[in-house]
Symmetry: C2
Subunit: 235 residues, 2 copies
C-alpha cells in the first residue's frame, strides 16, 4: 500500500509490524507451547514464538490465521484464536522499531508432529520446562501474559473445549482445566458445574470405550461462549 499523505509518511518510516503467536496445546497431560528455533540474528539459536510480518492488505487476524496454519497445518476457523496485546517497546528488537501484535491460540492435540510448510524447527515445549531467560526478544513477557490470559479465560468462557477433539468426555475437559491451572479439581463438582451451564456441552449419546474404568458419556461443544456461572480458580 502506498502512503499518499505527507504527514503520515513522515511517521511511517522505519516501523515494522509483526504478529507473534502463543500456541498452546495439551500433550501428555501437560500444557505445551509451540516454539521455533531462530536460524539467524538477532537471538540466533534461541527459542522464540512463531510469527511473521503483516503483509500488504492483510488484516491482523488474517496474518495470525495464516501463521497458525503455516506452523500447525490447522485450519484457523475451527479453533480458538484471539488477540492478546500489542508489544512495542523501542528496545525490543535490536534491528529497529518493530511492533508486534501477539495472539493466543488454543489448539487440540495434533497427531502430526508439527511439520509445517516453514523450514524453521518448530517444537512443542511443556510450559513448565520453558527457560524464560532463553527466549528471544520480549517473548518471555508475552508468554507469561498469554499464560495468565489462558488461565483466566477458562474461568469465564467455554474455550477450554478448544483443547479437546470432539467428541470428548467431561473428564477430558476436566483434565484441561487441571493441566492449565496446575491443580486437581473435584470430578463430581466439576461435572455438576459444566453440565449445569446452559449450552456449554451437547450430549452426543455416544460413550467412550476405555481400557479401564467405566465408559464416559461423550459431548460436543455447545453454542455458549461465556460460562455462567463462572468456574473460578480461587475460593
Amino acid at each position: 500500500m502506498v502512503i499518499r499523505d505527507v504527514a503520515l509518511a513522515r511517521h511511517a518510516t522505519g516501523v515494522a509490524v509483526t504478529v507473534d503467536l502463543v500456541i498452546f496445546t495439551i500433550r501428555d497431560d501437560r500444557l505445551q507451547v509451540l516454539l521455533v528455533e531462530r536460524g539467524k540474528q538477532p537471538f540466533l539459536g534461541m527459542s522464540a514464538l512463531p510469527g511473521g510480518y503483516v503483509r500488504d492488505g492483510e488484516t491482523l487476524d488474517r496474518t495470525a490465521m495464516r501463521e497458525l496454519n503455516e506452523e500447525t497445518g490447522l485450519d484457523g476457523r475451527r479453533l480458538h484464536l484471539e488477540q492478546l496485546k500489542a508489544y512495542g517497546d523501542p528496545g525490543r528488537d535490536p534491528r529497529g522499531r518493530v511492533i508486534t501484535v501477539a495472539y493466543l491460540a488454543l489448539v487440540p492435540n495434533l497427531s502430526a508432529p508439527v511439520a509445517g510448510t516453514d523450514a524453521r524447527a518448530a517444537r512443542w515445549v511443556p510450559v513448565e520446562s520453558v527457560d524464560f531467560d532463553e527466549l528471544a526478544f520480549d517473548h518471555a513477557m508475552i508468554l507469561r501474559e498469554a499464560l495468565e490470559r489462558a488461565r483466566s479465560r477458562l474461568e469465564y468462557t467455554t474455550i477450554a473445549t478448544a483443547f479437546c477433539t470432539e467428541p470428548f468426555s467431561i473428564s477430558d475437559l476436566r483434565r484441561v482445566y487441571e493441566v492449565v491451572w496446575g491443580f486437581p479439581l473435584d470430578p463430581s463438582n466439576f461435572r455438576r458445574k459444566v453440565t449445569g451451564a446452559e449450552h456449554f456441552l451437547i450430549a452426543t449419546g455416544q460413550r467412550s470405550t476405555p481400557e479401564i474404568g467405566r465408559p464416559a458419556a461423550l459431548y460436543r461443544r455447545g453454542s455458549a461462549q461465556l460460562l455462567f456461572p463462572p468456574l473460578m480458580r480461587s475460593g
Copy 2:
C-alpha cells in the same frame, strides 16, 4: 530509529503506528467519552477518539500517557490506563496502512473543561448520545469494545474507584457501577459486597456533609486490584 536490517526494512516501509484513547469519565451521572473534532481530511468535521503517532524511542504505554496528559491535563500515574487492543485492518485509514493501539482510560470527573495543550476541539459526550455512524475511521468499533471492556472490568477488578475522587462514599462508588452498567443496584447488597471484599476500600473516618440525607462514611482506594468475589452483572 534507523532500520539496520535489510529484510526488516523491506517490511517496514509505509506502516504508521498510532495510539488512540478511549477516555471515560462520569459527569452528571452519565458515562461520557472524550471525543475530538477532526480538523482535516480524512473524515474532516467528524468526531474521533483522541490519539497520535508513536514517537521515536517511546513505548506504547508512554505514548498513551502523553496523549492522555495532552488531552486532559491529568497525570497518568494516578489513574487507570490499560491497553485495549490493536486495530490494523488495511482499509481503516484511507491514507495508507496505519495500525493503531487503542487504550482505555478511566478518569475522575474533571472540574476544568478539558482545555488541553492541543488546539483541537475536545469535548465530553455522553456515551448514549454518541452517533456511532458519525465516528471517523473504525472508532465506532473501538468505542464499542472499550465500553464492553470497561463494563466487564467492573465485575472482576476494583477499577471503578478510578472514576471517583478521594475520598468517596459507597454510594458514589455504587453510582459508578449503575452508570456504567446502566441499571440500578440494591444499595444494601452493594454495600455488603464492597465492604466484604478485602483491601478494596479503606475507611478514612471522615463523613460527608450532604445537603439532604444522612451523612455517608468516606473511603479511599485500597490496595486490591482484583475484586473477589466478583460483582457480576447478570444473575
